[in-house]
Subunit: 423 residues, 2 copies
């Protein structure tokens, strides 16, 4: 293996994990690390503080550095830093999903022009090997569908809501106390993090640029313990699913939203902070890859894996990893959520009125919606009824029309929730 000099940008939990793992590889020399605060105490034995800088541009302009490892996160200044590094002919290893989802296309074009590669195994699903396998050993496949649990925080919250019958708010609070959720949990619970990841996965799986702004995104904040209970009674768990699929028309359907997942489905069996990716393609069929989606050590496995692959490639060629080059000329033709077809779970609050079930059936029928299950969940104290409906495969726009029509009726008080179903 060729001996290489590394510069690291970002020295928090992940950066420190990468440092510790890299230390055991003789031929990798950590030349410089960009930090926010040079004087902060580091929990590392015999740490040479002279390699620290508080100016990250020093790292990307350092002529001795071959590979820049970026584990700081965020779009700015990461974009400016990595653009500079690429222009300085440095290879990039990054875990920054937001940057790649928003600016990947520009960075990959720049990398191609400068004959360097950007590797980013750690940006999606932490320690699970998925990016490199798709680009190498699975490259004979036409991948048609990805359905995945890509956010550990929301999976942890949903698991605890189900196991301990907690409300969303209580489960979130416990997750925050245990360090599974951040003080401002928006990026996780509103599905932004999962959307960044599925945009990256869909781009390399379908070989077309996926626009992050066209990804339908819905988080888990509206899931109630009643939804989880009803789902359980019907044989489902609720999971935040990131999915991307190629339709027969060639159009691409990419979205993030909670789903009822049938208990027998392997994704339903993935609990707590674990991530899991189901990939379907020809000729391979269905694969399910499960493992730790975050954390210093699993992330370091992927970051250092990328570095070792690069080091190995650079030993024999200045153009390492031809298969790792990401460059997609074409934009995917992404459909909107209204054009998608799904089975649906609809939770309806209605007046305690014998005509209500008939009304729901009639309005669904008029809108081309077949009901597969309807369940009245008793009568509430205020003499209203909770009715849960599961539909057969229906078009989202038809569902939205039916819901509007239902709400016009005096018998229907409220649509408590609308969720999609995976069987």
């Amino acid at each position: 293996m060729k001996s290489l000099n590394i510069g690291i940008i970002g020295f928090g939990t992940v950066g420190t994990g990468v440092y510790k793992v890299l230390k055991s590889f003789d031929k990798i020399c950590i030349k410089q690390i960009a930090v926010k605060n040079k004087t902060k105490k580091r929990a590392i034995e015999n740490f040479d503080t002279t390699i620290l800088t508080d100016d990250a541009f020093e790292v990307v302009n350092n002529p001795e550095i071959d590979i820049v490892v970026e584990v700081a996160g965020g779009v700015s200044p990461a974009f400016e830093l990595l653009s500079t590094a690429i222009k300085n002919k440095k290879h990039i290893v990054t875990a920054n999903k937001e940057l790649l989802a928003k600016k990947g296309s520009e960075l990959f074009t720049l990398a191609k022009e400068n004959n360097v590669v950007i590797l980013y195994e750690a940006a999606v699903a932490g320690g699970i090997p998925i990016i490199m396998p798709i680009k190498t050993i699975l490259s004979a496949n036409r991948i048609t569908k990805i359905a995945a649990i890509l956010n550990g925080t929301t999976n942890y919250i949903l698991t605890k809501m189900a196991e301990k019958e907690l409300s969303y708010e209580t489960a979130l609070k416990q997750a925050q106390e245990l360090g599974y959720a951040e003080t401002d949990p928006t990026g996780d619970v509103e599905g932004f993090d999962a959307a960044y990841k599925i945009s990256i996965l869909s781009t390399i799986s379908f070989n077309k640029k996926v626009d992050i702004n066209k990804i339908y995104r819905e988080g888990i904040t509206k899931i109630t313990s009643q939804d989880i209970k009803s789902a359980k009674e019907l044989g489902y768990k609720i999971k935040l699913i990131a999915m991307g699929q190629v339709l027969e028309s060639g159009k691409i359907d990419v979205r993030v939203h909670p789903m009822l997942v049938a208990k027998k489905h392997l994704l339903a069996k993935v609990d707590n902070a674990t991530n899991s990716i189901m990939l379907s393609g020809y000729p391979v069929g269905d694969l399910v890859l499960t493992g730790p989606g975050a954390g210093a050590e699993p992330t370091a496995s992927s970051v250092v894996g990328d570095i070792l692959v690069l080091a190995s490639g650079l030993e024999y060629s200045d153009c390492p990893l031809p298969q790792a080059v990401c460059h997609h000329n074409e934009y995917a033709d992404q459909i909107s959520i209204g054009e998608t077809y799904n089975e649906y779970y609809i939770s309806i609050n209605a007046g305690n009125n014998p005509g209500v079930i008939g009304l729901i059936g009639t309005i669904c029928g008029k809108n081309n919606i077949n009901i597969s299950t309807i369940m009245q969940k008793g009568i509430n104290d205020d003499n209203t009824a909770e009715i849960v409906v599961i539909t057969e495969l229906s078009k989202e726009s038809d569902i939205q029309n039916a819901l509007k029509e239902l709400l016009k009726s005096e018998s229907i008080n409220k649509i408590d929730n609308l969720l999609r179903v995976m069987n």
Copy 2:
């Protein structure tokens, strides 16, 4: 991608699958295919029969061929054929697990001397990406344990025994009728196939040569429907598990045998002919990779994946894939089954005698075995009792001694089964 000429040895189900998938890649030319019978009808449209030969040595000696794909199986003549191909500087892609398990070391040494690579993603777990990921993106890890379901036939039989309460014989017969088991099922049901695969996986995971002859191997032929029923009552499924682990001593423990797997374990959720590999290492933690372990199409995904990776590497360098080179100087220090520690399931046929439970407890205690569960399964018609014992972690040699001692007692008629337990 460089344009390459391929020769294929073996044109059965897998060979035909590889042919069909390769056809969609412009720069890959299938130059010659070695078959048993040149005149046999092939279910392929517009098939050019002039590329067929019934002399496989023509393929390995053909100067126009860059890569030899071997999907014929067996040790001889595959070993002689691939040795010749390697000496002729051809790269090898093979799905032949028996050959690699028995002759891998010789072939890899020969390949190194001749500056060619041998790729074999399809030899282990069909379409599941595992060999290439271990060698590339997971290479930062010290892998400490693999536990896997690597044989689809036995997993199918065990699944049907559990689902439909069938005897082993009936489930085998049904599997044979459906094409899941061969007419002579020995290679699968006695664990040979799984042993070949775990020897290959252990070798690349632990970076030491694993001797196939030192792998403890036990098949599924002695599993009764009563065992499956008792396991179910105790919260377990029975699976044929191939495992390899590095012990604290540095010694290696590799074996194949049926195990009771706790229902909450992800491997217990893998049914029918599906394969699954759990890999544990530092820093990645635990990964579980699940997918189709056999079949023409999943196997073709891996074979063609290897070819495309090779083609891509050869475009820029005559020494492609430095990380793919397999060469281990050292033999693993493999322990025998007697030295292993496990939890055990022991099914005992005893006289209907109130002192029996006490006797079992006493003999176990004397042999350093703690019992965690003991369950008497009623009284048989012949006035004997079925007693099931689950032990805490015990040494296999202690268990064997205890069983011998139990059998000396007049109250114990027979040890019906001894199985190991995974929690």
